[in-house]
Subunit: 421 residues, 2 copies
Amino acid sequence: MVIILVQLKGFQKLTPVEEALQKFLKELQLRKPRAVVTPLGSALNRILAEDVVAKENLPRFDRSAVDGYAVKAEDTFEASQFKPKVLQITNKREIGERQAKQVWTGNPIPKGANAVLMLENTRRVNGKIEVWIPVAPGENICKEGEDVSKGEVAVKAGIRLKPQHLALMAALGIKEVKVFDKPKIALLATGNELVEIGVKPRENQIFEVNRLALSALCQELGAETLDLGIVKDNATEIAERIKFGIEKADMVITTGGTSVGVSDVVPMAVNSLGKPGVLVHGVAMRPAMPTALAVVNKKPVIILSGNPVAAMIAFEVFARPLICKMLGLKNVEARPKLKAKITRRTATVLGRKTFIRVRVFQQRNGEFFADPISTSGSGVITTMTKANGYVVAPENREGLEEGESVTVHLFDDVEVVDEDV
Amino acid sequence: MVIILVQLKGFQKLTPVEEALQKFLKELQLRKPRAVVTPLGSALNRILAEDVVAKENLPRFDRSAVDGYAVKAEDTFEASQFKPKVLQITNKREIGERQAKQVWTGNPIPKGANAVLMLENTRRVNGKIEVWIPVAPGENICKEGEDVSKGEVAVKAGIRLKPQHLALMAALGIKEVKVFDKPKIALLATGNELVEIGVKPRENQIFEVNRLALSALCQELGAETLDLGIVKDNATEIAERIKFGIEKADMVITTGGTSVGVSDVVPMAVNSLGKPGVLVHGVAMRPAMPTALAVVNKKPVIILSGNPVAAMIAFEVFARPLICKMLGLKNVEARPKLKAKITRRTATVLGRKTFIRVRVFQQRNGEFFADPISTSGSGVITTMTKANGYVVAPENREGLEEGESVTVHLFDDVEVVDEDV
């Protein structure tokens, strides 16, 4: 009876977004991913699996921070351009009193020296230098261990490695690092109407978009993907394919077949695969209301709408934070955010978290504006390509007012324009 | 004589950053990169080489935007929950008067229908439906061509392809796209003191950091790199290696050997390779003052300081915009920017553009602060790993005041903290 009611009336109950996500994460209890060793040169954008501790001081010796002359600071005291001190140039490893040795940035400080004079504050005359200003002891010297001292944590586990982290580890002589293994995400599209790109569609058929779009979103995060192909709206076939995905990958994402009633074939298929199965079906959000979240064999199965825009938005909300955890990131990576004024009144649905696609632009005066992309339905993919971000309107709002300050989550660049609002 | 003066006194003249960049770009006159064909599935983050025009309407037919029943709108007029209209369900391709056909989101609209009733506004009773609210003609229908109409430019040339662009092209049935070929950047490190990571350094030797750091910065932009290795401070060897790089790559970047005087070996080597050679040597910036910009055989040669921090900052200023152009991007990609309050007075050098590394954080109340990373020299690599962005202080400032609002260019994530300022 329940099924028939659902079939006729739509979702009986919609779960709020936050509650849905919490329920999902709680049931999953993800473990730390496996660590793998990789050469430093291949570690860009990977997630560091353990703290990197300096095995020696960086720098390993006192170095000159400038181009100039290593000296005994005392020999420069009271020097001026009118009454320069004169020092003898030496090439020895150790300098004596009233001696100077030429050094370039990064060169070791010779024994006996305790400061470096900058080139421009000296003049060289016949194997001697005139010193025009005094330097204090320690001046223009980069001290041993000043950058990182032996035993110190140089780079912390759980961060995504950027060029500057690689630079620091290289300077410490580190050749290989432990990073987390990439999670593998299996992608399945379902629907009788779908054909592969490149195939000539018959009347009423459409090209399958979602595996490509979701694969790109996974790649951006640094996850691997496994293509499970397209299957028809057949619960047995769908269940088989998802089972295969669960065996081979760390997570399965499906698209299509998650409406109410007879079209509810994917959640049914997932429930046939084992407990706890579908935890949430129907989320209080717009778009992507028919999203379902499931756990099978301790692995997450995210069941998305077949509509590409809804699929991408629900990926953002549910798959992205999960993949960040599976990557081993200490913190979920947020999209860059900025505050902007919304350019016109925008309708939202009371009781649903509404994801409004907007085009943010910056006026020459520096002010940011968010222009909502008008749409008659979430199926319009150009709402995503015309937008460079989205605004999340909370469940308790019935609309956003013109000129209201909103937080935009950016997924593409912001243009500076000479545009009137 | 000039050389000796330079040797003794440092740079005679520093070129302002903007002037240096303009001089460089003007001399280069870069051509449009070559276009290559790539499968859509490999096109993420590539730069689109030509406008993609829709060969047909998207959608190709009128589609339902919701789950429900396709109807003649006129048959629903004046319907209410108290006085429902009753329609006969049909499965035919065409609906007649007072008929309805069940449709799911994305299904084609059957002939004869001009609107779709949402499931939740109906009740199914014995092969008929009760209609509880009226719909207007066109309601809940996604019209043929509404997303993109035939002949329209769907995605513009010169942009970096994101998941949403791939989705749109997939929906249009596009299997392959023309993208710009990746530029190849050759990287050479110079310096007697340098050893490869993995080699045990002798006293006074240091690990070579720059090729790895610059390679990562190139990779982030989507450029390829060619490793020219490490060479000693020998003008002949350096010239040979750079010549090889110019032949095999689109640009050469070197590090080290660009101080004044005897240490000026790389600019000398470059000048031996042909005209115009070095255009700028010595830039009014901090760090990275010894940067030199050269053109040989119409190809750019960027000569960076051996100091990793200076090298990375000068890469940001000079190499990054150039690589964006070589990638075929319509607009130079800027780092995400935000306004923050600087937490303490920060010294800068009058007459130099100063790049201050800062750690930006956001307080729970939403306010952003930029904490300058203190440093005794630009050689301290942890100034880059502790920072997540940089502030550019203009040439005409002698310092930034505590609490001043500054623009931060972000190169890493921003944390939200419960931190007192």
